[in-house]
């Protein structure tokens, strides 16, 4: 900080001293360095230019860097030019046209890449103090992308004068990162690293990793350097490393031995051993030894020779950063960060799991009504989900506004699948209440028919169901934790449905009658309830909810004729695991399956197929121990 202060003061002082001069005169003083600049000599000129402290300096530096400055041979002055031959000469201070010159009298100033780099660094301090916040942010972005040691001082100098609080905070955090990497004093760096260790941003972690870059090496003795670790590579890798470092002779591979033997066949024998017996690896070694003993080929490197060579050397990796205190601090900081990031990732994973659970819940809640409450297996439930999704798609074709079309699609999807459910109940399921296994098969028949009809109408390719613009994007907490709005929307929808179903079943006349028919149809009928009508309505309700779930799932996944089949087994699992005949059970089942699947995916992230496999195995075993599910009904409600 002291350095920065001194620097800032010195700049102010120098600027005051040079105020009398103008840009052109400074340039004339250094005209040699500017016209034919080299990386080394140009620094003096740039320092003087900066000391001048005039507002046109940054512009000049930019144009100089962009090869847009010309020297007029006639008066030796520097100008910008405009127009065509003869060019207008523009004064570098005032920006006014002061004369004309033909092309032949002008020489373009072409700084090389090294000089342009030096100019760029000098420019940073101007950009960092630029009145335009956009340009300051752009300069900060450039530093964050590709930081270097010489940006440290201009950045530190620019902080005090920064008016914008957000940019100031950004500058301070960047300064800390640059200090951690390039600071002069070890204490400063360690302090910066420790300050950074509380952050979880990708940038901060990248800084630690940049500090901790290391190189592998091998030698007979451990070198006097900042050693990262002593390695113990595998036998083959270790020997290959020795060979690569010229510390050992290359060993012959089995293939090379084979070709050596093939080249030394004499009258059907190699080293006195018949070729026909060489299918035995030991015989090959013996033959090679015989050749080596006779001096025909180089002696064979045996396993024990190689092991001895490996034992005689030490394998290590050494940090590029020479100061151990810095790397130690960085290692500790990285560990701390990883712990924090791990906690964040757990939170992120939990949110993922909740949103997956919401999807399973939406897919299964309709089934919980038809299967759970009525005991009817509906294999076509997945196809009702598909019908809902396609209804949403068709409505989007008619109503182009996405927000309106989704709002219209939800009730229409409910109506369509409600009607389909009622029709199916009346035509098929009603006749099969006493034969549940056959309900399974009949509804399966309907399922394949519906799937094929959808394929015939909409084709096999996936149809998009576009979510409205306000559902795009994600709620970002930090670099680790983020959740997309669409998942939040699905979660909200799932909660709404939970409340709705609970309300219908517990608080309405329909719900009362449904529960009565579920528990004892005969008694319910004698109380004046029409079980036929109730069954029909219940089935319609369950199917209608599947339709709405279809719209929600369609927004999140693709709409295909097979999308229902993807959810049907999971949905049954959800209902069975949760406990049949209970909405809370479905919620518990969906949560368990959602969290379980995400958990297994987290342990084996490359493989979602394996996650599903293990999850199903887990469920099969789970059912062994709780055959009635998590929330088992007791007493009369349990039925048979």
């Amino acid at each position: 900080m002291l350095r920065a202060l001194v620097m800032a003061v010195s700049i102010v002082v120098l600027a005051a001293a040079a105020a009398a001069q103008d840009l052109q005169s400074v340039l004339r003083t250094h005209s040699e360095e500017i016209a034919k600049p080299s990386r080394r000599s140009v620094q003096v000129a740039i320092d003087d230019l900066i000391a001048l402290g005039q507002p046109e300096v940054p512009m000049f530096l930019e144009r100089w860097q962009g090869k847009e400055v010309y020297q007029w041979d006639t008066d030796g002055q520097f100008y910008y030019v405009d127009g065509a031959d003869p060019f207008d000469l523009i004064d570098i201070s005032t920006g006014e046209v002061v004369g004309q010159a033909p092309k032949g009298e002008l020489s373009q100033i072409k700084p090389n890449a090294g000089v342009r780099g030096v100019i760029g660094t000098a420019l940073v301090q101007f950009q960092l103090q630029d009145p335009d916040p956009e340009r300051r942010i752009a300069a900060l972005d450039a530093i964050a992308r590709d930081g270097s040691a010489d940006q440290l001082e201009p950045l530190a100098a620019s902080i005090d004068a920064e008016p914008d609080a957000a940019i100031r905070a950004r500058k301070e955090s960047l300064l800390q990162m640059l200090t951690a990497r390039f600071g002069d004093a070890t204490e400063d760096r360690v302090a910066a690293i420790e300050a950074l260790s509380t952050e979880v941003s990708v940038d901060a972690r990248a800084v630690m990793n940049q500090i901790l870059t290391s190189q592998n090496g091998v030698a007979t003795e451990l070198p006097d350097a900042n050693i990262a670790e002593i390695r113990e590579p595998e036998f083959a890798d270790a020997y290959a490393e020795l060979v690569a470092a010229d510390l050992a002779e290359p060993a012959l591979s089995a293939d090379e031995i084979k070709s050596v033997l093939a080249a030394n066949i004499v009258e059907g024998r190699v080293g006195g051993i018949p070729v026909s017996t060489l299918s035995d690896p030991d015989a090959r070694i013996a033959a090679y030894q015989a050749l080596a003993d006779a001096g025909t080929v180089a002696p064979l490197m045996t396993q024990s020779d190689m092991q001895a060579a490996i034992d005689a050397h030490v394998f290590y990796s050494v940090y590029d950063e020479p100061i151990a205190a810095v790397t130690d601090a960085a290692v500790a900081a990285l560990k701390h960060m990883e712990l924090k990031v791990g906690a964040m990732q757990t939170a992120d994973l939990a949110m993922d799991a909740i949103s997956l659970a919401s999807i399973y819940f939406l897919a299964a809640i309709g089934l919980a009504v038809t299967f759970g409450v009525m005991g009817v297996i509906n294999m076509a439930h997945g196809e009702f989900i598909m019908m809902g999704a396609y209804t949403g798609y068709v409505i989007q074709q008619i109503i182009p506004d996405y927000t309106v079309s989704i709002i219209v699609a939800l009730p229409v999807a409910f109506a369509v699948t409600f009607a389909a459910g009622v029709a199916m109940e009346r035509l098929v399921i009603r006749h099969l209440y006493k034969r549940p296994l056959e309900t399974l098969l009949a509804t399966f028949g309907i399922s394949i028919a519906l799937q094929q009809i959808a394929k015939n109408i909409f084709g096999t390719q996936a149809r998009p169901l576009t979510s409205p613009a306000w559902l795009d994007g994600a709620l970002v907490f930090n670099d680790v934790v983020a959740i997309s709005y669409i998942r939040i929307a699905i979660f909200v929808l799932a909660v709404l449905f939970l409340c709705l179903i609970l309300f219908i079943l517990k608080k309405t006349r329909l719900g009362l009658e449904v529960r009565a028919v579920t528990q004892n149809p005969g008694m319910a009928a004698s109380m004046g309830i029409n079980p036929d009508r109730i069954n029909m309505l219940t089935f319609g309700l369950g199917s209608g909810i599947a339709g709405i779930a279809g719209v929600a799932i369609g927004l999140y996944a693709k709409v295909t004729s097979e999308m229902g089949a993807d959810y049907i087994v999971q949905s049954f699992m959800t209902v069975v695991v949760g406990g049949v005949g209970n909405v809370w059970g479905t919620l518990a089942g969906a949560s368990l399956i959602g969290f379980l699947q995400k958990g297994i995916e987290w342990m084996n992230p490359s493989n979602t197929l394996a996650a599903q496999t293990y999850m199903i195995l887990f469920i099969i075993i789970f059912i062994q121990f709780r055959p009635k599910g998590i929330v088992a009904l007791k007493g009369r409600a349990a039925g048979n």
Partner: protein
């Protein structure tokens, strides 16, 4: 004993007679052995159909007689196919590799041969190591044993777990379906050790034999016919007599059988396991005729189709399952193969390759609703009429 069993089960004799006549007919008409009226590919189709009939009667025993609607028997079928496929693929690749290495001056070591085979087989999934489950792939007898033992063991463990905790009815169906789904998802992974979704291919070639496909196809057809005949007799034996009565009683009222003192779980476990083993055999005969097996074959839908065949053919009678499997699978290949003429309605043309599944699905609903006895139920009319005949 055997005699009396066959005498009391006349339908078994009739079936065996029909099967023998059919086999003889196909042999006489096939390319390799007779007139050449039936093409090699059609002989394969018929042979595959016989294998499907075999698994269908297994399904009929477990569902139609014992009342367990298993949606996992096609998984056992697939496991049988994989078990034999591993040997076929290994042995054939071994022959090819040894053939190409024999040109080398230095004879190859067994490690080199095994590496080359591994690279050949597992190259498609980016590996060259033999997974553990291929440990016995070199041995035909061991893999043949695996055809029966692996499905049997899996069924035994799964059935023991499920029946022990009294999982019945639709719950059991869903559980078996989940098992099938888990298995097929597992096989879809590249690191499952069975070549992921590439599956095993080239199974139609018999290692160590230079017989043409025409001869091989008729031999597999014979083998399938023999297996079907033996399977039919085995299951007819299982479901006859006292044991058969207990099994049917379990279907009709499990609790009552348990109260009578029978150990229901053992009977169910026996039926479940033995049908799984027969399903494995059927698969082992089917896939060499199909030439390729991949995880999609094991998907839960296949097992449901199996139930569909049995339901359409008629549950609770073995010949019903045979009729159902033959009828639906042949009809299916006729429709999807473009054999059926398309119907032009003027405003819309019904293309059967697109609409066959709709027809199948709907006819399935109709059969379940209106003819629960399936096609086999038609035989009842004949026998009932005949019995009535003399009295009237």
């Amino acid at each position: 004993m055997k005699n009396s069993f066959l005498v009391t089960n006349r339908s078994v004799l009739v079936f065996l007679l029909c099967l023998a006549l059919f086999t003889l007919g196909v042999t006489v008409l096939a390319e390799a052995t007779g007139a050449g009226v039936i093409s090699t590919s059609f002989v394969k189709t018929l042979g595959k159909t016989l294998c499907l009939c075999l698994i269908a009667i297994a399904m009929d025993v477990v569902w139609g007689y014992c009342g367990i609607l298993s949606l996992g028997h096609f998984a056992f079928f697939g496991i049988g196919g994989y078990a034999i496929g591993m040997w076929l693929m290994y042995a054939r690749t071994h022959d090819i590799v040894v053939g190409s290495l024999s040109n080398d001056v230095i004879p190859a070591t067994s490690a080199e041969i095994s590496d080359a085979i591994g690279t050949q087989i597992f190259g498609v999934v980016g590996s060259s190591e033999f997974p553990l489950i291929w440990a016995f792939a070199h041995s035909l007898p061991l893999q043949l044993a695996a055809v029966v033992i692996v499905p049997g063991l899996l069924a035994l463990v799964f059935g023991w777990l499920a029946f022990r905790s009294r999982v019945t009815g639709v719950y059991l169906s869903i559980l078996t379906q989940a098992m099938t789904l888990a298995l097929s998802l597992y096989l879809f992974q590249n690191d499952s050790g069975l070549r992921g979704n590439n599956g095993l291919s080239g199974l139609q070639n018999m290692p160590g034999s230079d017989l043409g496909q025409d001869v091989l196809s008729i031999r597999f057809f014979w083998a399938s016919a023999v297996a079907l005949g033996l399977g039919y007799v085995l299951f007819a034996f299982v479901i006859s007599g006292k044991m058969g009565s207990v099994i049917r009683a379990i279907r009709d009222d499990e609790a009552r059988v348990r109260f009578l003192g029978y150990h229901v779980e053992s009977y169910k476990l026996f039926v479940f396991t033995i049908t799984a083993m027969v399903a494995g055999i059927a698969g082992a005969l089917y896939y060499p005729q199909a030439g390729i097996i991949n995880p999609a074959e094991i998907a839960p839908i296949a097992s449901i189709y199996l139930a569909v065949w049995v339901a359409i053919g008629g549950r609770g009678r073995l010949y019903g399952a045979v009729i159902g499997a033959t009828f639906v699978s042949l009809l299916s290949s006729w429709f999807t193969g473009g054999g059926a003429p398309n119907i032009d309605l003027g405003f819309y043309e019904i293309v059967w390759t697109d609409w066959w599944l709709v027809l199948l699905g709907l006819s399935f609903v109709l059969v379940t609703l209106l003819f629960p006895k399936g096609i086999g139920g038609l035989f009842d009319y004949i026998t009932i009429n005949r019995e009535k005949g003399p009295k009237a």
